[in-house]
């Protein structure tokens, strides 16, 4: 067990730690029962690993692999995958095709490693025919994907896992509310204030200048989209890793990072990604949504 996750005593409770979804994960709990703490961490850990196994693009025996290698055949999705598929379509529609779970194949052309290697227009044009969720036939629970198209839930998977892990941890506890905060690499959610009715204090890193913000979170979630490390730099132009699925090119003039507070981590994550997709219009977009947010240019 010791290899799966670590649990440390803190001043007001326990913190569980493990790695999942390419992020360090933390479960912060205000409670004094170490056995219950272990159960909560175990529940969250199991859920995170389950989702990772199921939707990772790097495992060739899972459902994701089955979907992406269906060769045009219709496959039937389970309940959870169906809900995610519905959600993906909703996001696609409401963003006029900007948030597109089929755009992941652009990664074959764009390698965001901080280098100055840009793909050629031909490379990009070759991929565009295989992008566009409207080309996927979705009659719940039956999914038919054109050959060479790929789905990637990476844009919502981590936030989904954060929300699910909180649910799973809370299900383990039948007594009075235990304050819990789940943090997967900066995308996080809490189930209310801490034991003494104090808010959780969350630091937001300053991407550029000297100002880090400290957020007091009493309820809900925070998620951040940003290109602090994932970008290309050529001729002094920064190419952000947020790609426009319709042109295959990066969104220009996007802020360095956008952090949004919302009721769930999924909502916060979507809003921050949609804001980034607005490029220079991200601040106006966030203002219109009337959400609490932090933008770093």
């Amino acid at each position: 067990m010791a290899d799966l996750y670590k649990i440390d005593k803190t001043e007001h409770g326990f913190t569980g730690r493990f790695d999942a979804m390419a992020s360090p994960c933390e479960i912060l709990m205000d409670l004094h029962d170490p056995l219950l703490a272990q159960q909560l961490v175990h529940a969250a850990y199991s859920e995170a690993k389950r989702i990772e196994q199921k939707f990772s693009r790097y495992i060739n025996t899972n459902l994701m692999f089955k979907m992406n290698n269906s060769q045009g055949e219709t496959i039937t999705l389970d309940e959870e995958s169906s809900l995610l598929m519905d959600f993906a379509f909703t996001c696609y529609d409401m963003s006029d095709g900007f948030f597109d779970v089929t755009s992941g194949i652009l990664r074959r052309a764009w390698k965001f490693d901080g280098s100055d290697t840009l793909p050629s227009d031909i490379q990009i044009k070759e991929l565009l025919p295989f992008i566009g969720l409207q080309k996927v036939i979705w009659k719940k629970p039956d999914l038919t994907m054109p050959i060479n198209m790929e789905l990637d839930f990476g844009g919502i998977g981590k936030e989904y896992a954060v929300d699910r892990c909180l649910q799973k941890a809370m299900e383990k506890n039948t007594g009075k509310r235990i304050p819990i905060l789940i943090n997967f690499g900066g995308d996080l959610v809490c189930n209310g204030p801490r034991f003494n009715q104090q808010p959780w204090q969350v630091g937001i890193e300053s991407v550029g200048g000297g100002h880090s913000a400290v957020v007091s979170l009493r309820q809900g979630a925070l998620a951040t989209s940003g290109d602090a490390r994932r970008f290309l730099l050529k001729d002094d132009v920064r190419y952000s890793h947020i790609l426009n699925p319709q042109t295959g090119h990066p969104i220009m003039d996007a802020p360095r990072s956008v952090t949004v507070a919302a009721a769930t981590c999924v909502e916060a994550g979507l809003l921050s990604t949609l804001a980034m997709l607005q490029g220079s219009g991200s601040k106006a977009f966030l203002a219109e949504q009337e959400v609490v947010h932090w933008v770093q240019d």
Binding site: G185, G186, L188, V202, G203, E205, V207, S212, V214
Partner: protein
Amino acid sequence: MKPIVFTLLLGSVFISGCSSMGVKPWERDILARDDMALESASMDSAFDDHIYFSKEASSGGKGFGGGGCGCN
């Protein structure tokens, strides 16, 4: 001399620990606190620097050592 040993000791901790040092952006909650800033009481430091500049043969180190003071 004792002081030099102390300096070297700190230096070696710094070098050997470098590879695993640092925090992720979302781990800056504590470091972002005002009282964790390197210079968290600048008024106090400035007064102290001025006093010790005028009473001792050393100055600076933490910042520039000039005093703009005729007191020493």
